[in-house]
Amino acid sequence: MPAGVAAEAAASLALSGPVGGVVGARVLGAVVGHADLLTLDMGGTSADASLVQGGEAREEGSTVVGGVPLALPSVLIETVSAGGGSIAWVDEAGALKVGPRSAGATPGPACFHRGGTEPTVTDACLALGWLDPEWALADTVHLDAKAAERSLEPIARALGGDVPRAASGIVEVATAVMARALKRVSVARGVDPRRLTLVPFGGAGPLFGCALADQLGMRTVLVPPHPGVLSALGLAAAAERVELVAALHRRAGAGERSAVVAAYTELETHAAALLPGAATQRLADCRFTGQGYEITVPLTNGEPDGIEAAFNAAHRARFRHGGVDGPVEIVNVRVVAERPAPAPALGRRVGVGRPTPGWRRMIVRGERVRAQVWPLGELPPRVRITGPAILAGPDATALVETGWRGTVHQSGAVILERA
C-alpha cells in the first residue's frame, strides 16, 4: 500500500506484523510451488496460526485489536499462548501445564541469564539438546544449559522423572496447544489440513514443525531459509496490494446485474488510480439471508452471474450443509489490485563450498539420538537431509525428526517430507 494511502487508512495496517509473516509464507510458498499452507509463527509469548489457500491468505470480516473491534477484512489469525517464553508448571493434582504465563524476553527463559528462573519452552528445548549453547541466539543471547536444567528440576521432581523427561513433556504439551490453533484455522473452517503444507516460522516454530505435522496428519513441512525474520522479509517481498470494498447488500442474481457491475467498475477505477498497472480481481462477500458471517468468493471471469453458484459451493465445502437453501445476498463487493514486487527477496546467504554436517547428541521424542547439524540458510540446493537432524541458523533453529527427510530448495528453504 502506498504511504499516502496508508496514512489515510491507518487502521488497515493493524496487525501488519503478524500478517507480514503470513505474507512471507505465501511468497515463499509461491517460490517453492506450494499454494495451500498452514502457517505457524511461534514467538516469545504466543503462537499465531493462519491459513493460505490457492496462494491467498484466508481473510475474515472483522477482528479485535487490543479490545477494539475492527470492522475491516483482516487475515485470519488464531493465537494461543505457547511461545518460547511460555512458563511450564505442575498443578496440584500433578498435571503438566504450559502457559498462559510467559517470561517473555525479559526476564526471559532461565537459560537467557536475564533474571528469569522459571522453566520455559526454550529451556526445555535447550535441555533436550535442540539448541546449541556454543552459539548465541540471534548473535546476542548466550544460552546457559545449567540454568535451564536447574529451572526444570522442580518440574522433573513433581512429575517423578528426570530433567530430560520433564523437558520432553513440556515440548509435547506446547505442541498440543499449538495444534489447537492450527485446527481452529483449518478443520473448524472446513479445510482438511492433510493436503496442506506446514510453514513453521519465528525463532522457535521450526523446532516444532515435524511434531505438529504429525499431530495434524500433514505430510510436508516447509522451513524458510530465515524463519526468524520471515515477517520482515514478507513485508519487503510482498506484492504491492490494494484491496477496496464497497457495501452493496443485494440479492445475488436477482436482476441486479447492472448495479453490481457498476459497483465493481467504480472500485476498479479507484484501484487503478491508487496502483497504476496493477492486475485486479473481483470478489464478493456473500451469505444466505439471515446469516451473520460472510464467505468471500472470486467471480469467474469477473462475471457476477456465477456468484450464487460459487457461494453455494463454498458454503457446502465449508459447513457441509446448504444453509437455508434460500436467497443468497451479496453483502460487499471487493476488488483486489496487485502489482508484483520486483523479485522475492528471501535473503539467502550462499555458503562457500559444500557443507558437511556436524553431529550432536540430543533427545527427540524421548529417544537419545545422534543428530546431524546443518547450517540453515546457507545450504546449497539439492542437499539431502535425513532426520534426526538440526538445521541451525542465526535467527532460528529447525528440528528434522526421525522419520522425516529434507531437500534444500533453490531458495535456501528446506522441504521436509515424511520418509
Binding site: V90, E172, R189, G290, Q291, R318, H321, G326
Partner: protein, 513 residues
C-alpha cells in the same frame, strides 16, 4: 493402562480443541442473532458411558445440564451413527427453546461417545412469540415438547410446522447438525491416531484428574466439619402471583464433596420459574467451577464432587408438567446466588452479588421473533470493582449489536448506555447496570422475565447494595414478569440492576452537596 501426566494434558487439549471447533462451526453458519451473535449455545463431547469429556465453555447454565440430555438418549438404547433431538425439561432438557442435538459417535464395533450441541432457538411455538411467555402455567403453553427422538425428516417437518419462524429454525438446525458432525469427525481422527482404547482411557484419566483437583479445592473450604451453613434468597413472584418465593439451601463439605440440600425451598409454583433438577445441578456446578480456578478441565469428574439434594416437587426439582421457561434463566441465577451466600456466611471470600437476572426480553409478531437478555452490574470483589454492563452468573452471552437488531427486526434502539450510579457503594464499587430503550416500529407481543426489581443485589463486607432494575412501557412501570402488547411507536425501557459493592466505602463519602 495408566496415562502419564503429559499424555493426559495433550489429550485434554485435543478434546477441548474439538469442542471449540464444534462451537465455531455452529456460530459461523447459524442464522438467528441469538445463536450467531449472542452465542446462546454450547457444544460438548461425552464418552460412551455418557460422562462429559470436554465442553466449549459458552453458557454456564448448560454446563452440567448436558449430561442429563445424554443420559436421556442412552435410555432410548441408541444405535451408532444416530442423531437425536430433545428439549423436554423432564427428559434431559432445560427449557423448551434449548434444542439439543445428540449424535451417537460410531466406531467399528459400537458407540465411541456422544457429540452434543445445545442452542437456544428463539421460537419453538407455544402461547407467545419467542416461547418465553411470562406466567405460563403449564409446560404445554411454552412450546412444542420434544422427548428424545431420532431427528428424522418427518420429525423436522413436525418441528417446523409448530414454530413461528420455520425457515430460520431449519437453518439453525442445519448448523447445529454440522457442529455435531464436526464433533464426531474430531473423535474419529483422534481414534485413528491413538485407537479408541487410548481415547477412552485418556477421557477417564482427565475426569479423574479434574475430580482430584476439585476434591482438593473443596476440602480446603472453611466450612464446618459438622452440620452445615444455610442461606435463603427470594424470587420476586412467578408471573402469576407477585409473592416472594423462597429458595433455601444448606451447604456442607464431606469427604471432599460439596453437598447442597435445598430442603425448605418453596414448592413448585403455578408460573414458569420452576427448575428441572438438571438446571439446579448446573447452577451448583457453576458455583463449584468459580471456586476451582485456572486450569481445571470442566468434565464429569468435577460433577462427581457435587451432590444436590432437593425434595421432589419443590421449586428447584419440579415435576412434569410444571412450566419452566424462566427457571433456566432466572431461578438458576438465584440458586447460584443462594449457594454463594451460604459459602460467604461460612467465610469463603465470595464477591458481592451481581445483577442476578438475565432481563429476558422477547418480542414478536407474525413473521418475526426476537429474544435477548441484557447485561447489568457485576458484584465487586475483595480485589476490585465489578464490571459494568456485562452478563454475570449463569449467563455468558454477548449482546446483540444495535446494527444487527435494527437490520433484522422492526425495532429502533433509542438508547443503549450504562446506568449511572446503579452500582453499590463500597471500598470497591459494584458494576453499573445498563439502560436499553427499544421503540417498536410495528405492533408486537412482548414478554419480560426479570428479577431484582424489588430485592436489590446485596453488597458484601459492608459494601452497599446495587440499584434494583426497572421495566417501563412508555414511562409507566411494568411488573418484573409480564406479557403485554406493544403498538407501533411504543417505547420499552429496561434499566438493569447494578452490582453490589464490596467493603466499607472510605470516608469522606461521595458528596451530594
Amino acid at each position: 493402562m495408566t496415562l502419564d501426566p503429559v499424555a493426559r494434558e495433550v489429550m485434554g487439549h485435543a478434546f477441548a480443541g474439538i469442542a471449540e471447533e464444534m462451537g465455531l462451526v455452529l456460530i459461523h453458519s447459524a442464522v438467528s442473532p441469538n445463536i450467531r451473535e449472542r452465542r446462546d449455545a454450547s457444544a460438548a463431547l461425552f464418552d460412551a458411558e455418557g460422562d462429559m469429556i470436554a465442553q466449549a465453555a459458552h453458557i454456564p447454565v448448560h454446563l452440567g445440564a448436558l449430561a442429563d440430555a445424554v443420559q436421556a438418549v442412552r435410555a432410548e438404547r441408541p444405535q451408532p451413527g444416530e442423531l437425536y433431538i430433545l428439549n423436554d425439561p423432564y427428559a434431559g432438557g432445560s427449557h423448551l427453546p434449548d434444542l439439543t442435538l445428540i449424535g451417537v459417535i460410531r466406531t467399528a464395533d459400537g458407540i465411541g461417545g456422544y457429540s452434543v450441541v445445545r442452542a437456544h432457538h428463539s421460537d419453538v411455538g407455544g402461547a407467545t412469540p419467542g416461547s418465553m411467555p411470562a406466567g405460563a402455567r403449564e409446560l404445554f403453553a411454552e412450546g412444542l415438547v420434544l422427548p428424545p427422538v431420532l431427528l428424522t425428516p418427518e420429525v423436522e417437518r413436525m418441528v417446523f410446522a409448530n414454530v413461528r419462524t420455520p425457515e430460520i429454525r431449519r437453518a439453525d438446525l442445519a448448523a447445529q447438525r454440522a457442529a455435531v458432525e464436526r464433533g464426531a469427525e474430531g473423535m474419529w481422527s483422534l481414534a485413528a491416531r491413538h485407537g479408541w482404547a487410548f481415547v477412552r482411557e485418556a477421557a477417564r484419566a482427565l475426569m479423574d484428574h479434574a475430580e482430584a483437583r476439585a476434591h482438593a479445592v473443596l476440602s480446603r473450604l472453611p466450612l464446618p466439619s459438622q452440620g452445615s451453613v444455610a442461606a435463603v434468597d427470594w424470587l420476586e413472584g412467578d408471573g402469576v402471583s407477585d409473592a416472594d418465593i423462597a429458595i433455601q439451601v444448606a451447604v456442607s463439605v464431606k469427604d471432599g464433596r460439596l453437598h447442597t440440600d435445598f430442603s425448605g425451598t418453596a414448592p413448585a409454583v403455578p408460573g414458569n420459574v420452576n427448575c428441572p433438577i438438571a438446571v439446579t445441578h448446573a447452577a451448583v456446578l457453576f458455583v463449584v467451577q468459580t471456586l476451582l480456578g485456572e486450569g481445571v478441565p470442566m468434565n464429569a469428574g468435577v460433577a462427581r464432587t457435587v451432590q444436590v439434594t432437593a425434595p421432589e416437587g419443590c421449586l428447584v426439582h419440579a415435576r412434569w408438567p410444571h412450566a419452566v421457561a424462566a427457571g433456566n434463566v432466572e431461578t438458576s441465577q438465584r440458586i447460584a446466588d443462594t449457594v454463594f451466600r451460604a459459602l460467604g456466611a461460612a467465610g469463603v471470600p465470595v464477591p458481592a452479588q451481581g445483577q442476578g437476572t438475565m432481563n429476558n426480553v422477547t418480542l414478536g409478531a407474525p413473521g418475526w421473533t426476537y429474544y435477548e437478555t441484557l447485561g447489568g452490574g457485576q458484584g465487586a470483589g475483595p480485589g476490585g470493582p465489578g464490571a459494568s454492563g456485562v452478563h454475570v452468573g449463569m449467563s455468558n452471552t454477548r449482546n446483540t449489536p444495535i446494527e444487527v437488531l435494527e437490520m433484522e427486526c422492526p425495532i429502533r434502539v433509542r438508547r443503549y448506555a450504562l446506568r449511572g450510579d446503579s452500582g453499590g457503594a463500597g471500598r470497591w464499587r459494584g458494576g453499573e447496570g445498563i439502560v436499553r430503550e427499544l421503540e417498536l416500529l410495528v405492533s408486537a407481543e412482548a414478554s419480560i422475565l426479570s428479577e431484582r426489581r424489588r430485592h436489590p443485589p446485596r453488597g458484601s463486607a459492608g459494601g452497599g447494595d446495587g440499584a434494583c432494575g426497572i421495566n417501563l412501557k412508555n414511562g409507566a412501570p411494568l411488573p418484573a414478569k409480564a406479557n403485554f402488547p406493544l403498538a407501533a411507536g411504543d417505547i420499552l425501557r429496561i434499566e438493569t440492576p447494578g452490582g453490589g459493592g464490596w467493603g466499607v466505602e472510605p470516608s469522606p463519602t461521595r458528596s451530594n452537596a
